[in-house]
């Protein structure tokens, strides 16, 4: 079978399978929110006593006067038109807010993963090819350090000490520009917020915290691959170290690493709330956390569903990457 055609069919099947997956996720998120402890009506009323008429009014306002299944279908119908509804908390359009917040978080996630790869791959490879050398010990210590040091602590230290020592601060969120509006300002906000091209921004911080795992895995995989017979054959043939490592060993070592990177995507997309709070990045992480606390069902549903979409597509991308990295892998 034509490998290209096989790949297309595989992608098509995976996309079809994604539909019931996402429907299942939407149902779980929707109905689980409604069994959470805490009275949403009381939450909206705040400290005020909820009289029966106030309850009826609030329920009418937010659509809770309908049966849950009817609400669900109404919500799904809206999503089909890319209308995610209104925030139960402040009535703002979820779609409008997603339009600004989602690209920000996706961009931060992409930059974080790129940062993590830029750190982890070279250090992991050098650690492996110079096993038990000073470079290896340093690399391993670095990876443990990155894993152990909480990103929120590091971020706070960066913010506090930059203001104390340099009277510098990260840009206000008011200055955030999307990458298509002002690429330099955008990258400055996310990567080098204090200027001078010093990379201590939120994306970098997130990437550093991810790099520890990737670094260690890369080292382990490289060590295993370098012990293979075909690598020994390559040495025996007199190939240079660089071409052996990059041309022969790396691709095979990357397969599990790509899996781990795929698993990290939902972590950076949905779990960047702390870094976003510290650096004031107007992404979906902070919003998600606040929405859960305020029982803003529509916002939580929308963000959870989009995170699920990110997971599905990132897993698909990982599978496609496998086929590129290892020609033996064929999808039929």
């Amino acid at each position: 079978m034509n490998p290209g055609k096989g790949m297309q069919q595989y992608i098509f099947k995976r996309l079809l399978l994604a539909v019931p997956t996402l429907i299942g996720v939407s149902m779980i998120v929707f109905f689980m929110l409604r069994v959470l402890p805490g009275d949403l009506v009381q939450q909206i009323a705040g400290d005020n006593q909820v009289t029966p008429e106030l309850r009826a009014q609030i329920e009418r306002d937010i659509g809770l006067d309908k049966p849950a299944y009817e609400e669900y279908f109404y919500w799904i119908g809206g999503i089909a038109k890319l209308d995610f509804g209104q925030s139960l908390r402040d009535k703002s359009s979820i779609s409008h807010r997603l339009r600004d917040a989602l690209p920000t978080t996706i961009e931060m996630a992409v930059l974080a993963i790129i940062t993590s790869l830029l750190i982890a791959l070279p250090v992991g490879i050098i650690s492996a090819i110079r096993q038990d050398s000073i470079a290896d010990y340093l690399g391993r210590s670095l990876s443990i350090g990155f894993l152990a040091i909480p990103s929120f602590w590091l971020g706070t230290m960066i913010i506090v000490y930059s203001s104390v020592w340099f009277t510098a601060s990260t840009p206000l969120p008011a200055e955030y520009r999307q990458i298509w509006q002002d690429p330099y300002a955008n990258l400055k906000f996310l990567v080098f917020p204090f200027g001078y091209f010093i990379p201590v921004g939120p994306s970098v911080l997130l990437g550093v915290s991810l790099s520890g795992t990737v670094m260690r895995l890369m080292r382990t995989q490289m060590l295993e691959v370098l012990r293979q017979d075909y690598i020994r054959t390559a040495w025996a043939k007199g190939l240079r170290e660089r071409s052996i490592v990059t041309g022969h060993a790396m691709k095979n070592a990357m397969i599990p690493v790509v899996t781990v990177i795929g698993l990290q995507v939902p972590i950076v997309v949905g779990g960047s709330v702390i870094v976003e709070s510290i650096f004031n990045v107007p992404g979906i992480g902070q919003w998600f956390f606040q929405a859960i606390g305020f029982r803003d069902y529509t916002a939580v549903q929308a963000i959870a569903l989009l995170t699920a979409v990110a997971v599905v597509f990132s897993n698909l991308a990982v599978d496609i990457a496998y086929a590129y990295l290892d020609p033996r892998i064929r999808y039929s």
Partner: protein
């Protein structure tokens, strides 16, 4: 492996055994530890104790700051934006934002600098030009003739008239979660610029209620009804600033209203500022960092961060005032509805109060300490409304506030608990600690203090959403460390906390059912002079201080920091008012 003969290749390729690596790490770690011990043996201490005179100088704004200069944009911050329609909102955060764009009939008096305590929470005119009170049930308010709504569609700068007040009141009565605060109003009618309020029963603090930031904001009908979400999409009123834009999690901005009706004494139109930008920042370190770098002009500073703010911003001016959020212990409703021990016995409740070392808690929280709240009137109301538990006027009930472990134990023994008891203590584990940073510090202190008298607390943390819909509404066991909503008149506290829950007692968390107290509150609020209300208010505070239905905890002094060039700051020492638009930013200006 191919080995080059360069120095760096030799270094990088040299293999180190694990034993050697561990030895090197141990030596390096020991060296680092020794250096750290030497470095840390300085006189600095991690324990915060307020040094004598160590708190930053509190700005007492001089009487004359020079001639105000129009211009400049005020950069401030807000932690959360929960909506734009103050009529629909229950959160003071929304009410604070509303005050930039909307107006009330009256507002609370402000001055530049220090407001004398006997003027705290007194009202002054805003949209009203004249107020007449021909009988206890009638208030006739004549509106100013020169007030216009913002010059934007659909109102296009038209004049504000009496019908706008009627419309706003009807809307308030229809949809506001706070509408119970005006349940005593019978009808509101208008003829031109004259608006008549008819009450069902006398209410001596009606003007305070009209000035409240939680209640009657005047909004134009054609704007509200232009679309179902108009009031949530933007703000459009008659306030000093015109709403510009809101970007979620980013900022909210306003521009100066060039047609605002107020002028200063020299005839200069207000506001002086060209605009206000509030950045949405949730992280406190980020707020301090932005302030230190000059990106923000004014910020709130939690008491525990005053020293670090001062070190980062040595030129900043700090203003301090006791905050009006009431912190208190509340007891399970069955104590009052079913006489369930232990808190059905007022000796136990008084013992709980005597176990609280309020001075020690205040020292932990704030460099300038604070005051002791009464129940239910907080120190933030000033001495004209708040009966100081440490003063002589409170009488024998003052003993219930004094920290006295021995006396507390005696009371517990007399109540049948010689060995104390174990009790769950509920508290909100989220949100409160963001909005009120001293909350977790005080909570931790309380646990230790109660233990001293034999009350073993089992902490029950509750996520805010769960807390507000269960514990806050009276569905809890044992006791809870709670915060009370802020009201801008004492009547609201008395009514909300002691009336029946289905008759105006929306904050009667423990379902206190003291009919005699309720009758006295009603009598007090019907009094027609403020002095008479004050007198009765003090008597009631003595009574509730004996009963300790709720046990008040502490009122720390809290701080705001500002850049020196920001002038015209209102009420630098005075009550917290959340209507910052007209009671804060209105007269701000920049000297440079």
């Amino acid at each position: 492996m191919a080995a080059g003969d360069s120095f760096w290749n030799k270094v990088t390729e040299q293999r180190i055994s694990r034993r050697r690596a561990l030895q090197m790490t141990a030596i390096g770690g020991a060296s680092a530890g020794a250096i750290a011990l030497v470095g840390c043996s300085s006189s600095s201490s991690t324990t915060k104790t307020p040094a004598a005179g160590g708190s930053p100088a509190v700005g007492k704004t001089p009487v004359s700051e020079g001639t105000p200069k129009p211009g400049g944009t005020l950069h401030g911050t807000v932690s959360l934006v929960l909506g734009k329609d103050p009529m629909k909102a229950s959160s003071f955060l929304t009410h604070a934002l509303a005050s930039y764009s909307y107006s009330r009939l009256l507002r609370f008096k402000t001055v530049i600098g220090e407001l004398p305590q006997d003027q705290w929470y007194t009202t002054e005119m805003e949209l009203a030009a004249k107020v007449e009170n021909p009988d206890p049930l009638t208030y006739i308010i004549t509106l100013r003739d020169d007030v216009k709504f913002h010059n934007l569609p659909p109102v296009n700068g038209r004049k504000l008239v009496g019908d706008d007040v009627v419309y706003s009141f009807d809307r308030y009565r229809s949809i506001s979660p706070n509408k119970g605060n005006m349940a005593f109003v019978d009808t509101v009618t208008a003829a031109g610029q004259v608006v008549t309020f008819k009450l069902k029963e006398p209410f001596g603090l009606f003007l305070n209620r009209l000035a409240s930031f939680q209640d009657l904001w005047i909004m134009p009908k054609e704007f509200i009804e232009s679309s179902p979400t108009a009031s949530e999409d933007r703000m459009l009123g008659s306030g000093p600033f015109i709403f510009d834009k809101f970007t979620p999690s980013v900022e909210m901005t306003w521009k100066k209203n060039p047609d605002y009706f107020e002028k200063d004494k020299a005839g200069t139109p207000l506001p002086y500022l060209d605009g206000v930008n509030l950045a949405v920042i949730t992280d406190q370190n980020q707020v301090l960092s932005q302030f230190a770098s000059g990106a923000l002009d004014t910020i709130s500073v939690p008491p525990t961060l005053v020293d670090s703010t001062k070190s980062q911003s040595p030129n900043a001016i700090f203003d301090a005032a006791p905050r009006n959020i009431l912190s208190m212990m509340i007891f399970q409703p069955e104590s009052y509805t079913a006489a369930k021990p232990p808190f059905n016995d007022d000796r136990v409740r008084r013992a709980v109060s005597m176990a609280i070392n309020r001075d020690a808690l205040l020292k932990r929280v704030s460099a300038q300490g604070g005051l002791w709240p009464n129940m239910p009137i907080n120190a933030g109301f000033g001495k004209t409304w708040w009966l100081d538990p440490q003063g002589s006027d409170i009488g024998p009930a003052g003993a219930n506030y004094k920290y006295d472990v021995a006396a507390a134990k005696q009371l517990l023994t007399a109540a049948g608990f010689p060995n104390g008891f174990e009790v769950p203590m509920h508290f909100a584990s989220t949100v409160y600690s963001t909005v009120v940073p001293y909350y977790p510090i005080v909570k931790d202190g309380l646990t230790a203090l109660f233990q001293q008298v034999g009350i073993t607390v089992k902490e029950v943390p509750e996520e805010y959403g769960t807390y507000i819909s269960s514990t806050f509404t009276g569905k809890f066991d044992g006791m809870a460390f709670s915060l009370e909503s802020v009201f801008s008149d004492i009547a609201a506290y008395w009514q909300n906390m002691f009336y029946p829950r289905d008759a105006g007692g929306g904050r009667n968390h423990s379902s206190v059912a003291d009919a005699g107290l309720q009758a006295k509150i009603k009598t007090m609020l019907a009094a027609q002079t403020v002095d008479e209300i004050r007198k009765q208010n003090f008597e009631l505070q003595k009574y509730t201080s004996e009963k300790m239905y709720y046990v008040p905890v502490v009122t720390p002094v809290e701080f705001a920091a500002r850049v020196p060039k920001l002038k015209g700051v209102l009420n630098t020492t005075g009550p917290t008012t959340y209507a910052v638009g007209t009671e804060g930013a209105l007269k701000n200006w920049f000297s440079a």
